[in-house]
Amino acid sequence: MNYLSNKLNKEISKFLIPVLLFPLWLLLYLNLEKITDLLIFSLIGLTPKTHLTDAIWFFVFEVPKVLLLLTLIVFVVGIIRSYFSPERTRKMLGGKKLFTGNVMASLLGIVTPFCSCSAIPLFLGFIESGVPLGVTFSFLIAAPMINEVALVLLFGLFGWKTVLLYMSTGLLIAIISGYIIGRLKLERFVEPWVYEVKAGHLDIEEEKIAFTRRITAGIDAVKEIVSKVWIYILIGIAVGAGIHGYVPENFMAGLMGKSAWWSVPAAVLLGVPMYSNAAGIIPIVQALLEKGASLGTVLAFMMAVIGLSLPETIILRKVLKLRLIFTFVGIVAVGIIIVGYIFNFIY
């Protein structure tokens, strides 16, 4: 009896943690600007409107704001992800026709747990079970590009509209690129051994998971992701703060502004070999934007950095011939450039 009630208490306390923490979170988040003002001007007594104060204010305000947002969203996404697994996704995508398959794969790419170090086993698992090549690619493009860390930062720094635009254009790129790769019938440029692999079948039963276990999954996700990206966020915001405080207004307008037509392809060319996660790149992007860079150019840069990374392409070489890799990178890069121009045109 005692054991049972103890166990029950433990289960309830798991619910309680998020329920109790949320009001605290909200209070802190909504008052962050006031708290920062209090700290910087009243407590430390820095003189307003100097470059240094501007930079410090930016840093002190942005770091907790981004970390708060990140914690909340990663927790929620962690719970959502516990409902999806690569096995289930693969089952849903098996034998799907082009286009419908591409749309589904891109959407599932957002919610299925994915880490670029698992890209190869996942690729093999998909192909082996009959998911078409183009559909597999839609998944592989959407999964890293549209991730919760990128969405949180975009929302925190630019607001709803930009998140939606980023998400919808990212999805479009994944759908269309995968569709084109499927249409081009590039299967012969996949290393031949891939099609000979006999993947084993897992007999881990998909048990019904209690909701408290999903909360634990959410908390674990927060621990894992926040401990991994906080340092990038700190560095990114520090660089952003420097640009914010010291770089003159409109400094970037000539270089990365609308009038410079070549800025979008240049940003993509620069972004592809660069490797960073969303956490490090977005605060910099925000500062660039503030100084006159145009949204399309900056978003294209960001998509290229996050979505097309050199290390991932090198890993893919194990299963794909060079021609297919170049085609893949080329199609996605062109997609990103088009998106960049569209944004520059609209705004």
Binding site: E87, R90, C115, C117, S118, P121, G125, V197, G200, L202
Partner: protein, 79 residues
């Protein structure tokens, strides 16, 4: 004797899991052979799509995560 395999191509999580398993084997003085599998075909042969995978006596116990110490010890002891 328990046969333990860690499946993974060398991501950080895979190394963490390997170190952890070796430590648990030693601290519980379990008679086990711990082996790291990096060959892709062999990894896929176990049917996992997320690394690291943990295989004990040829049965996949977990994949994509680093299980809790308690859980790993239980598996190692054959429960």
């Amino acid at each position: 004797m328990v046969s333990v395999k860690i499946l993974g191509t060398g991501c950080k999580k895979c190394q963490t899991l390997e170190a952890k398993v070796r430590e648990l084997v030693a601290s519980n003085s379990i008679d086990a052979v711990v082996e790291k599998v990096t060959d892709l075909q062999e990894i896929v042969g176990y049917g996992i799509m997320m690394t690291p995978g943990l295989v004990i006596n040829e049965k996949v116990k977990s994949y994509g995560i680093i299980p809790k110490d308690e859980q790993i010890t239980n598996w190692l002891k054959g429960n």
